[in-house]
């Protein structure tokens, strides 16, 4: 297991480093974790290299029939500790998968399956949005919090720009649902924020398509805040797909 273990470590570290350098890691964890992932990758690679070198040296001395001092060092755990090692092979599964195809950003599948973000418990007392110099880009979370703050006063008469993906519709209400996940740590704790987009002309964008919607807040007594769209532009998934 030792030489193989070293190899697995090198692969695991390489995958982590690659995820970080290509920016793919933001599909899975918060962008702030980048440096830590890179550091982790380097450490794991270094550990793997040391282990591999030691294992190779050990097997060479053993191969020559020598009983050198290096003999007892690296490979010991595999023998003395029967339960060890074996399970480590499982690390190969995500490594192999990630080397080839990185799973995508979370899509609309999970919207409606988990609890949505509670926007009512957030900040109170927003300053009005000033959109005299064009629509104001805003997170879905901020939009929703503003919508529930004094009935959406701070959004009155202003144009905003929201970016998210199209979630499957819940079969009532017009327009489509725009969603984006909030993550605290990683994609496993993702919770969606949802905004209903109404007033669009022409075909609705397809499910899971990323869009930037420009429009204004539509006051109403609904659980999901609504945006009257003036334009809907299809875009590629952003670098940081979560809020």
């Amino acid at each position: 297991m030792t030489a193989a273990g070293g190899t697995i470590s090198i692969l695991a570290g390489t995958v982590l480093l690659r995820l970080t350098l290509t920016g793919t890691y933001t599909r899975y964890v918060r962008p702030g974790m980048g440096p830590w992932l890179a550091l982790t990758g380097l450490l794991v690679i270094a550990l793997g290299v040391v282990t591999l070198l030691r294992a190779l040296r050990t097997s060479r001395t053993a191969g020559e029939g020598g009983h050198g001092e290096g003999h007892g060092e690296g490979h010991g755990e595999g023998h003395r500790d029967g339960h060890g090692g074996g399970i480590g092979w499982l690390l190969l599964a995500p490594i192999a998968a990630l080397l080839l195809v990185a799973p995508p950003t979370l899509g609309s599948y999970g919207v409606g399956r988990g609890a949505a973000v509670d926007v009512r418990s957030g900040v109170r007392g927003f300053d009005p949005v000033d959109s005299r110099r064009g629509p104001v880009p805003m997170s879905l979370l901020e939009f929703s919090q503003r919508a529930f703050d004094h009935g959406g006063e701070s959004l009155e008469g202003s144009a905003v720009e929201l970016t998210g993906f199209v979630a499957a519709d819940d079969a009532h209400g017009e327009g489509f649902r725009l969603a984006r996940y909030q993550i605290a740590c990683c994609a496993a704790d993702a919770a969606p924020v949802i905004v209903r987009v109404v007033g669009i002309h022409g075909a609705e964008p397809s499910r899971d398509q990323w869009v930037t919607v420009t429009g204004s807040f539509a006051a109403g007594d609904t659980e999901v805040p609504a945006l009257v769209a003036t334009s809907v532009a299809e875009i590629a998934a952003p670098d940081d797909p979560y809020e």
Binding site: L47, A97, A115, D189
Partner: protein
């Protein structure tokens, strides 16, 4: 001089010719298997791509990879600390430092958990190393449970998730500390100490310090990493297959709601630094039920139980995890009733 040599090298005759041969053979076979797996995966790439076009499978894969990637830095931190302990802490030191009586050692160890900023994956190899280094098992287990729950990072995250409600932070701190201490004391009183024999087995901690350091780190990393994969796959499956809306039915049902969120914590296996945000979003549940979610999560979840089973043995985990679950739920119920 002679003495130093006998201390550091294996006794003569410990390595038979057969062992030497297996040492030569094994690395080659192992590396070959690694290579085969990687090549096979490359050949099946189109198949993988097709699978990921299905939303449910893509969701599973993303959650699986996310849990694994997110846990790696913490796991490496834990493994590093564990290896440093193995290499640099003399064998007799820990038992001397800790009070002999469990009644003192357990609460002290539980409180010491506050000093390790990280989430639960890192604390398992550390606790195992503490046991291997002669720390009393109940104290090491109390530390194992409390460290991911009451460290400053987690408490700050909780305060951010529940703005204007410091009582939630206090309740989380107290309920977790009490649960960890009670489990430790119960284990001291009637836990099967023999269940921890595996953790006490000395694994490669003789020899030059650098060799011990890297050998231990490599072993722990692969070992814990493998079980992390099992746990992450389980959690991803449960998250993908079971819609969380099944819980809404019991949201108003008092004690049942507490049990439901405790169960959710076990199933979701999210990082203790993130669970407060999920708890905050479960608004249809009582604060006590959400407290149970935050107390149980860092102590018992599918990923953590897999790690514990791998590190300490299956029989240990079968007894330890249910005990911890019961104590954690009870502690949350009492503290929640009192404070929230």
């Amino acid at each position: 001089m002679v003495r130093a040599v006998t201390d550091q090298s294996p006794p003569p005759g410990a390595h038979t010719a057969e062992q030497a041969r297996s040492v030569v053979r094994r690395p080659d076979v192992g590396v070959a298997i690694v290579a085969v797996v990687v090549v096979a995966a490359a050949l099946f790439r189109p198949l993988l791509q097709d699978l990921l076009d299905r939303p449910a499978i893509a969701n599973w894969a993303t959650v699986f990879v996310a849990i694994t990637v997110q846990a790696m830095p913490f796991l490496v931190l834990g493994v590093t600390i564990s290896a440093v302990v193995a290499a640099f802490v003399p064998a007799g030191l820990l038992p001397r430092l800790l009070p002999r009586r469990p009644a003192l050692a357990v609460p002290a160890a539980a409180a010491a958990g506050a000093a390790l900023p990280g989430c639960e994956c890192g604390s398992v190899p550390i606790a195992q190393r503490l046991v291997a280094r002669g720390a009393p098992a109940p104290a090491a287990l109390a530390f194992l449970l409390s460290a991911p729950a009451i460290n400053p990072v987690v408490l700050v995250a909780t305060a951010v998730a529940f703005p204007g409600r410091p009582a939630v932070v206090l309740a989380r701190f107290l309920a977790s500390l009490i649960a960890a201490t009670v489990v430790g004391l119960l284990w001291a009183r009637r836990g099967g100490d023999d269940l921890l024999d595996r953790a006490r087995r000395r694994i490669g901690d003789d020899g030059p310090r650098l060799a011990v350091l890297t050998g231990t780190a490599q072993h722990d990393l692969l070992h814990a990493g493998g079980f992390l994969i099992v746990g992450a796959a389980t959690a991803a499956t449960l998250q993908t297959v079971v819609p969380r809306s099944v819980l809404d039915a019991v949201a108003d049902a008092g004690p049942l709601a507490v049990l439901a969120l405790a169960g959710l914590a076990v199933v979701m296996a999210i990082c203790s630094e993130a669970d407060a945000f999920i708890a905050a979003s479960l608004t249809e549940f009582s604060l006590t039920a959400r407290l149970a979610f935050m107390v149980v999560g860092p102590m018992v979840d599918v990923k953590l139980v897999a790690l514990q089973a791998g590190t300490f043995g299956r029989r240990f985990a079968l007894r330890f995890a249910p005990l911890t679950l019961v104590v954690a739920v009870a502690s949350s119920a009492v503290i929640g009733w009192w404070l929230l």
